[in-house]
């Protein structure tokens, strides 16, 4: 069969493509332990505040990139109004201007619309803009010069220097270190490879010479600091000369207004884990996996060994093993079937469970959540 031949031919594609496909960065599985918040008091305060400022309350307009992606209803726009921000952040170099147009953040997830304004002498024909003004393919004409730096990176600023080692001159590293790194702060650096990772080109506008990007990343509320977008350079495809004489970057600190919903998983009166819900994500942390299993096997038994073996070797076994469900006031529910982590700890010999998943293009109204189930335990929202 011809299709089968094609599938067999895939066997012979270059190894670098095979390895690259699995080198996509994984989201960190960080579980935050926040103190329980007095949701009721907060709700009263929010209500009072709303009454006080009704006259000045304005629903912000969503950037077209966000509007197209999320297609928010009026209710969602109102719900997320406090999470929408238009930070003052931009940088210009050699006629190229990098800026951030709008952000949506909930203390755990961050979306940003980032804009690149190209110089006046830039020939937009190189981008071959299609009539509808959007095409992912045309952006392949841009590429990072060095493939080894084509990935994106988020992480502590203090580890950033090591990441960039070999890709920047010592002088550039030193300058960046002096200007941007504070030892005690946690910066996020995103180095951009065109079209890759979670930094997606969305629109080209030939008239205004702009390219808009959608940035999606995890943002940690407690250790969060400025986000830095970094372009090493910008290149036409297949050319060595970049548009810029050096890197271009900008920083800003995301602003948002969200109270996460923190829940405690209990069994026989004992705290066995935590659940944190934000409008855009859910996190679960269970230090001892056996605590949330319906029929946990005893350690040292064959069943326990089999459990450990499957967890260590079967990629999606957690999803089969533990059901995580969000229950809503209208009786509906939502199963979370991805973002699982945890596993076997070689040192302690214990099994743990974690989960960190975003809701994609949807936003959760936390006020409608009535309960969350993690395996054998259901915790209700008071």
């Amino acid at each position: 069969m011809k299709e089968e031949r094609l599938l067999s031919a895939m066997e012979h594609i270059a190894g670098e493509l095979i390895l690259e496909a699995k080198e996509a960065p994984m989201k960190e599985k960080k579980i935050k332990s926040r103190p329980l918040r007095l949701v009721l008091i907060a709700a009263v305060l929010v209500a009072l505040f709303a009454v006080t400022v009704t006259a000045a309350y304005v629903i912000k307009e969503w950037d077209s990139v966000f509007a197209n992606r999320f297609q928010p209803t009026e209710a969602i726009q109102e719900q997320m109004n406090g999470n929408l921000d238009q930070p003052e952040a931009s940088a210009t170099r050699d006629g190229v201007t990098l800026s951030v147009r709008q952000t949506i953040c909930d203390g755990n997830e961050l979306y940003a619309v980032v804009e690149l304004l190209l110089p006046e002498d830039f020939d937009m024909d190189y981008l071959k803009v299609e009539p509808n003004g959007m095409s992912d393919e045309t952006l392949s004409l841009f590429a990072t010069k060095d493939e080894t730096t084509g990935n994106w990176y988020t992480g502590p600023a203090t580890e950033r220097a090591e990441w960039f080692q070999g890709t920047l001159s010592e002088e550039e590293l030193e300058t960046l270190t002096e200007e941007k790194i504070e030892e005690d702060s946690f910066h996020y650096y995103i180095e951009v490879g065109m079209g890759g990772g979670s930094f997606l080109p969305k629109y080209i506008d030939a008239q205004t010479r702009t390219i808009s990007y959608l940035l999606m990343m995890e943002y940690d509320e407690e250790t969060g600091g400025p986000v830095t977008i970094w372009f090493e350079n910008i290149y036409y495809s297949s050319t060595e000369e970049g548009l810029l004489s050096g890197p271009i970057y900008m920083s800003w600190t995301p602003e948002y207004n969200t109270e996460p919903l923190d829940l405690t998983l209990e069994q026989d009166g004992e705290n066995v884990g935590a659940v944190t819900l934000t409008p855009m994500s859910i996190q679960v942390d269970v230090p001892e996996l056996l605590d949330v299993l319906e029929n946990p096997p005893e350690e040292g038994t064959e069943a326990y060994d089999e459990l450990v073996d499957r967890i260590c070797h079967e990629q999606n076994y957690f999803e089969e093993l533990v059901t995580v469900t969000i229950h809503f006031a209208d009786g509906s529910q939502r199963d979370i079937v991805y973002g699982f982590g945890g596993g076997y700890d070689d040192e302690t010999g214990g099994l743990s469970l974690s989960l960190d998943a975003d809701f994609g293009i949807e936003f959760l109204d936390l006020s409608t959540v009535t309960a969350v189930t993690v395996g054998a335990i259901t915790v209700e929202v008071n």
């Binding site: 299709e3 089968e4 012979h12 996509a24 992912d136 065109m194």
Partner: protein, 186 residues
Amino acid sequence: MEDRDIIQLYWDREEGAIEQTKEKYGSYLMAIAKNILSRYQDREECVADAYFRAWNSIPPQRPESLKLYLGRVTRNLALDRRKAAATEKRGGGQVVLALEELKDCVVAWDTPESRLDEKFLGEKITEFLRQQPEVTRKTFVLRYWYLEPVEDIAKEMHMSLSKTKSLLHRTRKKLRESLEKEGIWL
């Protein structure tokens, strides 16, 4: 442990070679096998066969990338095992779906002179993919090399399901057009 150290263990005929391989790449290889084989036992046996294959072929071979080498061996073994399983009416899964999708790349006619060997075809696919954006390359390889379910790829690539399907459809169409331009008719 670094790949070169593990490979040296194979060359030294140290049994620890397989243990180290299992520790470093066991999950990766099981994931490849899982997309192709539905039975857990089949996957385990397939990956065990891959270790055995590595033991018998290193030396004399000294792969540059142990991960790539083992990944390829596992994929081949899993596909072979799937063929056997298909005759017993089990397995199939993503392979059947992927084959159905790849019909987009195949034109309606076929002539003997247009046939070419799979290695050459693989090289042409590589050339095509290298011209695509990173997100397109990765999505295509995840689907047709790793044979991952489209739903999983969408999550991995942070795209909606419909966008992922659409991207794959467009890429298959473009691949067909690209091959046709070179006079390659599948």
